[in-house]
Symmetry: none
Subunit: 403 residues, 2 copies
């Protein structure tokens, strides 16, 4: 959606409420050519009953054939074209570890690696060192690297991965990767891509050189590489762009992070789906827009556990009456992307979507599933960023365009 078109049409004085219920990795595939998908297999009487009075369709998170990462997929659901509004790798990594990025921070994704005596990378993952080793190396570097005028923060992720953050005045993230993303090569020099990034690039290069010396006698993690230097993007805030007061409810850092990135208020980490609904109920009067994220559908898909994914969908269905009891003006049920258990990974397949509102033109389809959605009025393969304007419209939050 073009924010410039939408902005003057927003009815910001409305008190109507919207729930965006995202079952992560919802879309699926049948395990056998003649079988049903996870969603089609689930017994979900509440969603199916809702479907009769809803609009159905299949959305495309990025582009046909392109498998979305979680970050861009959510950016699309939040109404931003994820091609145009791209998030740097460093920022995504920081969001994934719940790091509280400040506007000027420059972050990057780091890998500990193994180099030979000539500095040539022989293993980009340093033999997948244990997470505790990665933590210890981050600590060692933070204690010994000296960078004048800036703060260095290294936040361990899993195994050989960590988040690199520089904090200080006047930093600029337009710096080239040191990670050549291949073995058999040396780490690259960090260089400024724009003149204003020269100081930041020299700090990063100094870090890389000090780190090489400090790690020299470690084994197998005797060096490191960095990629995706980036800063928090300066995007229109979700609340301003859509004239609505938003709250994010999620169990995992990445999803709270992406919500924070677009300026949503964010609840502390919930510990169960039930607790997420508790939070929704508790905050119902205070906010107008609720992003409610369910992680376990994706995890089950990634594990190749078809039956568990079916079961999680059934659990969400059982919680649906609590959401409906709040009487949202618009309820969107969708996924950020597909994660078919068959593929054990994210995939490019279009994502089943349902919009329920008293003002929707019901499709009269009595099932919520991939193939049922083919016949729905939302259409097939529409961009996910079109959902937000539709959700707003069905909550009477968009004025007439022209007279």
């Amino acid at each position: 959606m073009d924010f410039d078109v939408l902005k003057p049409l927003l009815k910001t004085d409305m008190k109507t409420k919207i729930v965006l219920l995202v079952m992560d990795g919802l879309g699926g595939l049948p395990m056998t050519p003649d079988g049903k998908t996870e969603l089609e297999s689930a017994r979900k009487p509440n969603m199916d009953a809702l479907a009769v009075h809803s609009m159905l369709g299949l959305q495309q998170p990025i582009l046909p054939g392109v498998t979305p990462g979680s970050g861009p997929a959510h950016i699309g659901l939040f109404g931003y074209d994820p091609i145009k509004y791209s998030i740097g790798r460093g920022v995504l990594s920081a969001l994934g570890v719940d790091f509280d990025l400040q506007p000027e921070d420059v972050s990057a994704r780091g890998n500990f690696c193994t180099v030979d005596e000539k500095g040539i990378i022989t293993d980009r993952r340093a033999g997948r060192i244990p997470t505790e080793t990665g933590e210890a190396l981050c600590k060692l570097l933070m204690e010994n690297v000296k960078l004048p005028g800036v703060e260095l923060i290294l936040k361990p992720e899993k195994e050989y991965r960590f988040v690199f953050v520089l904090r200080g005045p006047g930093l600029n993230g337009d710096v080239s990767d040191t990670d050549p993303q291949a073995t058999g090569k040396r780490a690259e020099l960090a260089t400024a891509m724009v003149p204003e990034a020269a100081h930041t690039a020299s700090l990063i290069q100094s870090f890389a050189e000090q780190a090489a010396i400090i790690l020299k006698d470690q084994s197998p993690a005797n060096s490191l590489v960095l990629r995706g230097f980036s800063q928090l993007p300066k995007w229109p805030k979700f609340g301003d762009a859509f004239g609505i007061k938003p709250l994010a409810i999620a169990m995992y850092p990445m999803y709270r992070g992406v919500a924070k990135l677009v300026g949503m208020d964010v609840m502390p980490a919930a510990h169960s789906m039930e607790e997420e609904i508790d939070m929704l109920e508790a905050k119902w009067e205070e906010y107008d827009f609720f992003f409610l994220h369910i992680k376990k559908t994706d995890s089950a898909g990634e594990d190749g556990n078809f039956d568990l994914k079916v079961n999680i969908i059934e659990q969400v269905d059982a919680l649906l009456p609590r959401i409906l009891a709040l009487k949202p003006d618009t309820l969107v049920i969708t996924g950020d992307h597909s994660t078919p258990a068959l593929m054990r990974s994210h995939s490019w397949h279009a994502v089943p979507t349902l919009i329920y509102s008293a003002l929707c033109r019901p499709d009269g389809i009595s099932e919520y599933g991939e193939r049922a959605c083919l016949r729905g009025s939302l259409g097939v393969n529409f961009p996910s960023y079109e959902l937000m304007p539709l959700a707003l419209a069905h909550a009477k939050r968009i004025e007439k365009f022209g007279a």
Copy 2:
């Protein structure tokens, strides 16, 4: 598809294989309002069986309502937006006669025409002179026109049509047409549209003036006009743009030419559909992407021969098991455009399309036909250039976008 988005996502080390089977002019119309189209009428048990496990839809080669020429229609199937990647008329004509265009060659489409004593065009087709006369006139001009420092090549097409080529250093095709494309007018002056084309324009104008003298006493073809001066476009090569090694198999020059234009390897002309499949089998190990072109569906449509078009589709269906026996990871079956026998011409109607892959989400539709495709998950009126990313995705050749 935006090549810049796709390029970093390509998995170029995959060995998976894709077949793009194009039945030229596949889309059709019923001969009576209650009837079936050519594709719907054909008995095609193999395609229908495949449809059950495939994704179906209707693609739009150019824009809704716009009838495609063969060149742009194929450019779209090859993944290039045919509006953005437009081919000059001269280049298309050269491809159509199997002319081996070199990167610097400037080519144009030529018409012999009839002019009156004042040089005013009275017949743009010179009374449709016999093809042999056209050939003799091309020879006459090549022997007698003198153009310093460049080679002149005139390649006869059919009747009054020929391809004009200038070959030499420093040529530039940005030159205006001499063809006014109307009777009652004189030929225009060839003029440079950019300063760098001044030399080329003067050579072309010199050719036009010498030709007018040499042809003066001929009848009815006593002059000529040229249009669509152009050079081979500098586009991303198909193999680079999609990270795949492509081979084109076709019976007619135009289709081999368009494939060559995007940098595909091209087999010599096949003489039958069976021979095309022989070639596919013979080259299966050597390439990853196979563009397989069937011409006769279009020819039958152009002739208004509904039954013959049905019969050709049935012949292709009978050959399908040989293609499937090779176990392509993705098989796309579509047309470049519609050529309804009812209209005896190319048309703007959307083109039925099927993508088969073990990784597709099957639509469960048990027929491959225009109306069946309406219900498919590829959607209705999607741009044909989206097929390539989808084909690549279903052959596991695209990485995740973002994290």
